[in-house]
Symmetry: C2
Subunit: 391 residues, 2 copies
Amino acid sequence: MAAPVVSLTSTISFHGLKLLCHKKYQVLYRFQKEIVSVNQHSQASSSFRLLSKNPLVSHPDSDIVRFSAALSVEQVKKYLNPSFMSLVVVGSMAFDAIETPFGKSDKIIGGAATYIAYSASNFTKPIKQISVVGGDFPQSELDALTARGVQLEGVQIKKDEKSFFWSGRYHMDMNTRDTLETQLNVLENFSPVVPESYQDCEFLMLGNLVPAVQRSVIQQMKKRPKLIVMDTMNFWMEIALADLKDVLTMVDVLMVNDSEARELSHEYSLVKAANKILTMGPKYLIIKKGEHGALLFHDNHVFFAPALPLEDVFDPTGAGDTFAGGFIGHLAKTKDISFDNMKTAIIMGSAMASFCVEKFGTQRLIEITRKEIDERLGEFVELVNFDIDLV
Amino acid sequence: MAAPVVSLTSTISFHGLKLLCHKKYQVLYRFQKEIVSVNQHSQASSSFRLLSKNPLVSHPDSDIVRFSAALSVEQVKKYLNPSFMSLVVVGSMAFDAIETPFGKSDKIIGGAATYIAYSASNFTKPIKQISVVGGDFPQSELDALTARGVQLEGVQIKKDEKSFFWSGRYHMDMNTRDTLETQLNVLENFSPVVPESYQDCEFLMLGNLVPAVQRSVIQQMKKRPKLIVMDTMNFWMEIALADLKDVLTMVDVLMVNDSEARELSHEYSLVKAANKILTMGPKYLIIKKGEHGALLFHDNHVFFAPALPLEDVFDPTGAGDTFAGGFIGHLAKTKDISFDNMKTAIIMGSAMASFCVEKFGTQRLIEITRKEIDERLGEFVELVNFDIDLV
């Protein structure tokens, strides 16, 4: 096929998809790094921002970007078809009742997959959800997720059962909490089914859940996703360690908090803990430290992302899941799973988490605007940006 | 006087002082920021690196830097005379006995001013020490400090008394410790005397000590130093709060740890604590969080510096003082007290502290080389460096 020529500021139609190309420093910067990245644009579902050099685009000479002549329709489709960017999220969708030193919530919508989906939907669409709810889960909440680009074909609705319920109380430091009540309900015998329409997924986010359920989803994928990220918690280390260790051998990235990393590795030093966990399966390890930020380990490399210092942490429920959603959302959006891009993804996750804690439950995540996210990313840059000369 | 012309790579003699000028990106960068800075060079005590634009140097056109014609001998002397860069350090010089989960030390040399001086001597000389020791303090330790450029005219030696002694035990997390024994000894009635030769100091570092002693040093300075930095601890908040609050009104930068910031402000949120403390006198506040890094607050700005993730923290004694020494040492070296340069200074402090904890007491600080410091600064850059585009 002939290579279409696109002015950087023009909009073109291509196989039914509109391409909108912006001339920005951002674009030039991306070119230098040769990152292949087609991002869904905000305004219209069928318009895209093209940030790619190779193979889509040859060179940004003056104001013209040229598609590579060698590019096939299939290659273009691969990069432009939203289904190729799809993200599958597994996790609970639930009710929470939360007490903090600052207030007390009614029974509100929660669950790892809920937070992940709300967070990730700021970066990529569609999100293909796998979960289970009872007949008590409000249709309006499902509709709200659908409106955000979350597909629910993989969400089982058990009309005669009740949704998972968790109730907890946070202490003043917000890093520790007591579980007041847990009702497994629909989660007790949850057997996930991956719909056929989810099989093309490239990114799989295993939210915190029974390790055997996480494994079942991986095993149902006919083609291994490009990247599998797993969240888990100390509870599973205590009652399902063998399963958890088995899932560890199947994933690329593990996310745990600092005390969980210590528990899993039997090492107090987080560096030693990371070294040990990286021999258990995952090639990347993220250790979340709450208000103290997060560490990313890979081989001998380590990256640190701070948490934004906030005047008030109102409710930390879901902050870890929101972090995970920002992380996987950014990776799915950019389709770049390099260590460098994971750094950026962790900053995105940290920014999203900083919103989550400002109000009860998912409330703040639902209100959030693109402009607010950008402003907060700017605050992160300010927060850690320094000049250094050698001594 | 006529303006001397200096090639950027040449060495010239000027009023008995040798100037060595390097052409480096570093230099050009500094020029853009118009930072006036004359740094003592490493090799010879009488050679200097010239990083200044105004008033010393006019413009870096090609390979030539020209001194401003308007420059007087006195002005040049002011910038080139080491005494104008002098740093005064106040604090204890003492014996410590330390127990950690990894080992136990004999009675070893410690004290805030000792750690600060060792750390700062990597950045600037001379360091003018104010302290008090007993007849039991080894002459060899005093000689070792002198060899590092630490002047001891302000150190009182009370031959018939004993030096301050502290003994403590750290817990596994290394953030908490129990004091096993404290013998104030010479510190009990310490009345500091600022020698005449210290009066030209531009930077004053008040190490953790009785607030009244810190105040006495400030009051003895005939001309207020360009920058006064104060360290303190919860102990003084409990037994000498009025004095401490009085000293706060006299200083520019306060350093405390997170629990001390909370105690001083009666606020749990560190952001709220910072806002309150910044109304008590200091224009800058550094909150040290140990292994979780440090925060710098000023007006509505906040900067975060991580701690380097270490395999082993062997002994955290003196880490805070070492941090302070790197911080004030960098500022005294660069003579730039802007918020931006304080960010860099905090990274320098963090790098120095990361060495301190690797061995018992001051041992690691004494061995440290310039190359090791530069390598560690590189690790800090790697640790927090990320690329970000807006969403």
